[in-house]
């Protein structure tokens, strides 16, 4: 069994955990970040991609609104390459109460969210697909943020500053020495090998799974109510600006343009299991109908895929009352105060937009526990790739392609050249095409892997020196992973596309008869 030592063990490779690890590395702590799966495979990679301006919260939750706008402005400085500066609109549809607009304006003024009321014909000039019957509109500094790019940048930053990132390492036990948590036993989920981590401090940033992790430290009552929400990506950028309904936040009231698609979200269904990613038919219908309110024709537009993410909503079983204590802003649990357990903190809930703030507060708390005041640097230090301060734009890949078109494309939809794919395969050392998807957006375009799954498997087989069985498993696994998100929404042109993909994989390649065969 291998052993490593660290100042800090961070459990959970979402934005929060990676943010904590990045913050701690910048303060000089030797940090190990672990996740049972790939980075951003949990809630962080399963949201709609909104960089909040705070507008959504100005009426209902002013404190969250202020946090959002402050963090929004910081991330635009330190993580620019992961952000598209789309801007945002709040529009009053005929179904919405017009007077909410006044409350909204007042809320923005009170919380510091920059806002400007604009004429509806100006909105329609900028966004011709928006419902022409809108009656009021307000512009705010929303944006879209690419969670995978963000997580990759955080991981690079962590390793560049002496930390390490262990993906596909599941915590199977937390160790206690008296009152203190002293580390963990990890299992590599790909090889089943176990590893011991001895850590001076441990931070539980496992989001919806935080109750399961804290229970391993013998701590009871950290109850996370997983709130499952679905999102649907449409095949085009139906809008180029984030469009919100100007009303009390509800289901399906936001469309986010991100990369080559636009995403509508979301629903909120309490579920028992944070790994429950069910996509119910009525939720799909609800989202498509809600989209129709904002963009007429949405219902019949081409839907690419749907997915479900699980928000971690914290309910402290030790606190009085019940649902009243469920909060959407983040929760930092000081287990020394709460449970008399030393060298262990839990950070959960919150929003991706405020991940940096959550990380700062958490590492500050650790410093207090250790009596070791070291200042936070994440406000000023740009993430790798964002040093130039330039935003991502939707034409970035096309521009790269046009400047050098000699490298053959493996995935035409997402314009992924072969050399880039091969480099990602070598860097990640993975045998899982879904890891490559999160790194490069492989298979995320209109054909949903129809052509690139075969090509990438052949290249992975060659580059990774895989045997046939491992390559076949990669192909079948990726087909299944793509199918998981397409079948709940398949209709119209996307069903047609999917049947063409079936033609290739079943009709032409006969993958359903990989690999076993007996000669007759």
């Amino acid at each position: 069994m291998s052993q490593i030592e660290a100042d800090l063990l961070v459990i959970g490779g979402g934005a929060t955990g990676a943010g904590v690890a990045w913050d701690a590395c910048l303060r000089g702590y030797r940090t190990v970040l672990v996740d049972r799966s790939d980075l951003a495979d949990g809630t962080s990679g399963r949201f709609h991609g909104l960089l909040h301006s705070g507008g959504r919260y100005v009426v209902k939750d002013p404190r969250a609104a202020t946090e959002c706008i402050e963090e929004n402005l910081i991330l635009r400085q330190v993580a620019a390459a992961t952000i598209e500066d789309t801007g945002g609109l709040f529009v009053s549809t005929p179904a919405d109460d017009l007077s909410y607009g006044d409350e909204f304006l007042q809320g923005c003024a009170d919380t510091g969210v920059p806002v400007e009321e604009i004429a509806t014909d100006e909105v329609l000039r900028r966004e011709p697909r928006v419902n022409p019957a809108i009656r009021r509109a307000f512009a705010v500094p929303d944006g879209s943020i690419d969670a995978w790019k963000l997580l990759n940048a955080l991981a690079s930053g962590i390793t560049e500053h002496g930390g390490s990132v262990l993906t596909y390492h599941k915590v199977i036990a937390l160790h206690r020495d008296g009152d203190a948590v002293t580390g963990a036993t990890l299992r590599d989920t790909r090889t089943d090998e176990e590893m011991e981590v001895t850590a001076g401090f441990t931070i539980n940033a496992s989001g919806a799974w935080a109750g399961q992790i804290s229970a391993m430290a013998g701590i009871e009552g950290v109850t996370i109510v997983p709130g499952r929400g679905i999102m649907i990506a449409m095949n085009h950028r139906l809008v180029n600006t984030v469009v919100n309904r100007c009303t009390t936040p509800a289901d399906g009231d936001i469309i986010v343009p991100i990369r080559t698609v636009s995403v509508i979200g979301t629903t909120d269904v309490h579920v028992a299991d944070p790994d429950d990613h069910t996509i119910a038919q009525d939720e799909v219908d609800q989202m498509l109908d809600a989209g129709e309110q904002l963009v007429p024709g949405f219902r019949n537009a081409r839907a690419l895929r749907a997915w479900a993410g699980v928000r971690p909503l914290f309910r402290d079983a030790r606190a009085e009352g019940s649902d009243r204590d469920i909060t959407r802003s983040h929760t930092l649990l000081d287990h020394r105060e709460r449970d008399a357990v030393e060298r262990f903190l839990t950070i959960t809930s919150g929003k991706l937009t405020t991940f940096r703030l959550m990380a700062q507060e958490t590492v500050d708390a650790m410093c207090r526990h250790l009596g070791d005041a070291r200042p936070c640097r994440t406000r000023e230090q740009p993430l790798p790739g964002s040093e130039g301060g330039e935003y991502y734009t939707v034409g970035t890949r096309l521009r790269a392609r046009e400047s050098d078109g000699s490298d053959p494309l493996v995935c035409e939809c997402e314009m992924i050249p072969r050399t880039r794919l091969e480099a990602a395969m070598r860097d990640k050392g993975t045998v899982n095409l879904d890891d490559i998807r999160r790194a490069l957006r492989l298979g995320m375009g209109p054909c949903q892997g129809g052509f690139c799954t075969y090509r990438a498997t052949g290249i992975l087989h060659e580059v990774g020196h895989l045997d046939g069985a491992t390559a076949d498993a990669a192909l079948l696994g990726f087909l299944q992973e793509r199918w998981k998100g397409t079948w709940p929404i398949l209709h119209g042109d996307q069903l047609r596309q999917s049947r063409l993909d079936d033609w290739i994989y079943q009709g032409l390649l006969d993958v359903e008869h990989l690999p076993d065969w007996s000669a007759t």
Partner: protein, 437 residues
């Protein structure tokens, strides 16, 4: 123009019907929305590859399937029609513009040909350029790829074939440089065009001769030219001194294109017309007779009166069937009822990709004369025949039956129409077509 028959759709089923009718003297108009789905297909004629287990003998398995599953298109057609259609296609290829390029094999038994990922796949009739790949014979094979070709991965094919045959075959892989004349990325169509140029086959043969070992079959991606596959293939075999076979690649498919070109040429040679870029936008019917189709053609709409319509628009992948956002399925040309569609609140698909899907067999229901049935099981139109993937009741890609159903139903539709016209002319009514017996 008033054609006797309008065939809607330019894929396998539509062209089989159109060629059969035109060669028998009927006036035929084939409306094709695009280039036809044959260019997506591997170019093999798979009659029935799997019926639960892998099928060794398609005709007897089709007979058993027809008894077991009366809703399957093969139950409407029967094994004799399938055998007849297979013979017909073989004979038409031999008279086609690419002859002596021909199809080999038999509806009595399936060959097992390597796919581009190295699965032994059952096929009944295949281009002669693929026949040497039959894995039932065992032995040794070398899979030869072109460096940089992204739609063909020889090492993976070889790995899988070796495992798949349980060691009965020894398969290795190698890569060679693409032909020097090729300008740009070595894609399927570029390679096929380059290999059709004078001297290209000889140059490739020289390189292959250095690659092949004594007892190996040489397997290449299916790019041995569009216009002269027999000549290129013969040159390679002669010069390399080894059997050569093609392996079908991802779309666009060169062997599919050859089949399309052959059938289109035969249609035109027999006086039929193929209008691409056209599709049905409406129709005029009276009672159970379809009288005219309103058709989008380039430049606007036209109305074609007709005696017969053969609906060969294909399934979902070809746009012949479509599932709307309210989760209801339509037949897109004539608005026929579609059978086998789960109700809007019922599951349409299974969560596991390779499981059976409730929507998988949806399509138009027809009787044994290929006339479409409405939701109550009644004939909707007397002079409309439905063929190919628009027919419900099959899982063509899982079964490896798509081309077989398309070919046999298209061929059958031609026979049924010719038979009906014959009986009309026998009873001394107006003669429109002059069927050849």
């Amino acid at each position: 123009m008033k054609p006797d028959v309008i065939v809607v759709g330019g894929g396998m089923s539509g062209l089989a019907a159109g060629v059969g009718l035109a060669e028998a003297g009927a006036s035929v108009l084939v409306l094709a929305k695009g280039a036809g789905s044959l260019q997506l297909a591997p170019g093999t004629i798979d009659l029935l590859g799997y019926a639960g287990e892998r099928v060794a003998s398609p005709l007897s398995a089709i007979t058993a399937l027809a008894e077991r599953d009366p809703g399957h298109p093969y139950a409407l057609l029967g094994a004799d029609v399938v055998a007849d259609a297979a013979r017909w296609l073989t004979s038409r290829m031999a008279d086609g513009p690419l002859a002596p390029y021909r199809y080999v094999g038999s509806p009595e038994e399936n060959m097992l040909l390597p796919t581009a990922i190295g699965v032994p796949r059952p096929s009944a009739l295949v281009p002669e350029t693929m026949g040497a790949g039959d894995l039932r014979q065992g032995g040794r094979m070398v899979v030869v790829g072109f460096r940089g070709m992204k739609d063909f991965h020889p090492a993976l094919i070889a790995d899988n074939l070796t495992r798949a045959t349980g060691g009965a075959m020894e398969v290795r892989a190698t890569q060679i440089d693409p032909p020097p004349a090729l300008d740009g990325e070595p894609g399927t169509m570029r390679l096929a065009r380059a290999l059709g140029r004078p001297g290209a086959a000889e140059a490739l043969a020289t390189r292959l001769a250095t690659v092949a070992r004594d007892d190996e079959v040489l397997a290449l991606p299916a790019v041995l030219s569009i216009g002269d596959p027999h000549g290129v293939w013969e040159t390679l075999q002669r010069s390399a001194g080894r059997p050569v076979c093609e392996i079908p690649t991802l779309p666009p498919s060169v062997p599919g294109l050859r089949l399309f070109d052959t059938l289109r040429t035969l249609l035109r040679r027999a006086g039929g017309r193929l209008v691409t870029g056209s599709y049905v936008v409406g129709f005029k019917g009276s009672g159970d007779r379809m009288e005219a189709l309103r058709v989008h053609v380039s430049g606007g709409e036209r109305i074609y009166a007709t005696r017969w319509v053969v609906l060969a628009t294909g399934g979902v992948s070809s746009g012949g069937l479509a599932l709307d956002a309210d989760w209801r399925m339509r037949e897109t040309a004539l608005g026929l009822d579609v059978a086998g569609v789960p109700a809007p609140r019922q599951p349409r698909f299974s969560p596991r990709y390779l499981d059976d899907h409730p929507l998988g067999r949806a399509g138009v229901a027809a009787d044994r004369d290929l006339r479409p049935l409405d939701a109550r099981g009644q004939r909707r139109w007397e002079n409309v025949l439905v063929v190919g993937a628009a027919l419900g009741g099959a899982e063509p890609w899982r079964e490896k039956s798509g081309e077989g159903i398309a070919l046999a139903s298209g061929h059958r539709a031609a026979q049924l129409i010719l038979g009906a016209e014959r009986s009309v002319s026998d009873s001394a009514a107006t003669k429109v077509a002059q069927p050849i017996a």
